[in-house]
Symmetry: C2
Subunit: 203 residues, 2 copies
DNA sequence: GAAATAAGTCAACATGGCTGACATAACGGA
DNA sequence: TCCGTTATGTCAGCCATGTTGACTTATTTC
């Protein structure tokens, strides 16, 4: 199959391919669609390159666990739930809804499957017995770890490839990408239960 | 609604919530599940924090265009197609399939809608008339830019927030997150047609 | 005791993935 | 020129995962 590389190798870039109605409005003197920009801030084109890189990075980042999930009859939605229950065990259904920003009906379907198949268990809250706290079973932790493994490898290599200081920069970047109002919530989630007690001991 | 913050404010972290079957296996002296790691490379826990941050960042990154798309009766799939056609106009259907890693049938549905509604036009290839080169119309470019705008703002602010040198670090990180075999392909896509001629002049 | 809250459920629907099968047009080499 | 391959499009059906709206149950809180 001919791919873009081959086309480029043949000297046929899309830019050279002249299309039909061609009244090409020439770009103005600023060359950026007439948008003024602050000194030192990246150009619109550069920002869109980052948007594309983010897309490609996320696309491949999710591909490894997706392949594993297929063998278990699960999808990416199950992964998200299992991940957060595993990493922040004891969280409530409401917390999960908040994290995933999906409806309770959507979550319910996926969560029920994970519970039915013995990957997650529920436990009524001690102080408020209406709450259902969620915990991974042994089986759930094992799957979560298996799904996480290739993503950790990828992240470790990418951080190494990004050079010294990358961790701090990346952390600040990613945090700043999150909606400002959400940041305290995300922060409290991320600092909760980093090494939880194990409820599903024999799971 | 009580959220995690409130719970934390009440002093009820998930870590403190004791679950039922509590035979807590204590972590070994290394405290990382017995996994050895190279000096200087981030701990598993830290890597998983980056995985979570990436999830939250991407979640919010896509939320702005998603809201706009709703008004047009489009979804995220339309955005992806329109973005790449706009930024790399003249690309072929096969290129798009390669970028998105979806099937031709999935792409077809979405692409047809964008063509029918006048956001994208097709043009037979000059050297190979089987190829259908894709171009945005004026309307298509307008929508693409409108969808890109909030994402650019978010990226610009996040880069600023990440501090000096963030651009180079982030670029290296994101590139390294992409599957190694895919990198030349991605690179050739990203360097194609950065400021294309405009086919859909009146579009 | 009544209102509010956490969770679960039923039903119906939309989007966007997937597989499989097949059609058409155009290219390219024997 | 003919044939195999390629690029694209299409029909049909299925599945995963998101949505809205309405309602129930248990429990907490005022």
């Amino acid at each position: 199959m001919t791919d873009l590389n081959d086309r480029l190798a043949r000297g046929e870039t899309a830019a050279e391919t002249k299309p039909p109605g061609g009244k090409a409005k020439r770009a103005g003197p600023r060359g950026n669609g007439g948008v003024a920009r602050r000194r030192g801030s990246p150009s619109e084109a550069k920002l869109l390159e980052f948007a594309e890189l983010l897309f490609f990075a996320y696309r491949d980042f999710t591909s490894d666990p997706d392949a594993i999930l297929k063998d278990f009859g699960f999808g990416r939605a199950h992964h998200r739930v299992l991940h957060f229950v595993n990493r922040h065990s004891g969280l409530r259904v409401a917390d999960l809804l908040d994290i995933l920003t999906i409806t309770k009906q959507s979550l319910s379907r996926v969560l029920k499957q994970l519970i039915d198949k013995g990957y997650i268990v529920q436990q009524a809250g001690a102080s408020d017995r209406r709450e259902r706290l969620l915990f991974p079973t042994g089986k759930g932790r094992a799957l979560a770890e298996r799904l996480a493994a290739p993503q950790s490898v990828r992240l470790a290599e990418a951080l190494k490839g990004a050079g010294p200081g990358a961790e701090a920069v990346l952390r600040r970047f990613l945090e700043a990408m999150i909606n400002a109002e959400e940041r305290p919530k995300v922060s409290s989630i991320m600092h909760s239960s980093p090494a939880p007690l194990k409820p599903g001991g024999k799971g």
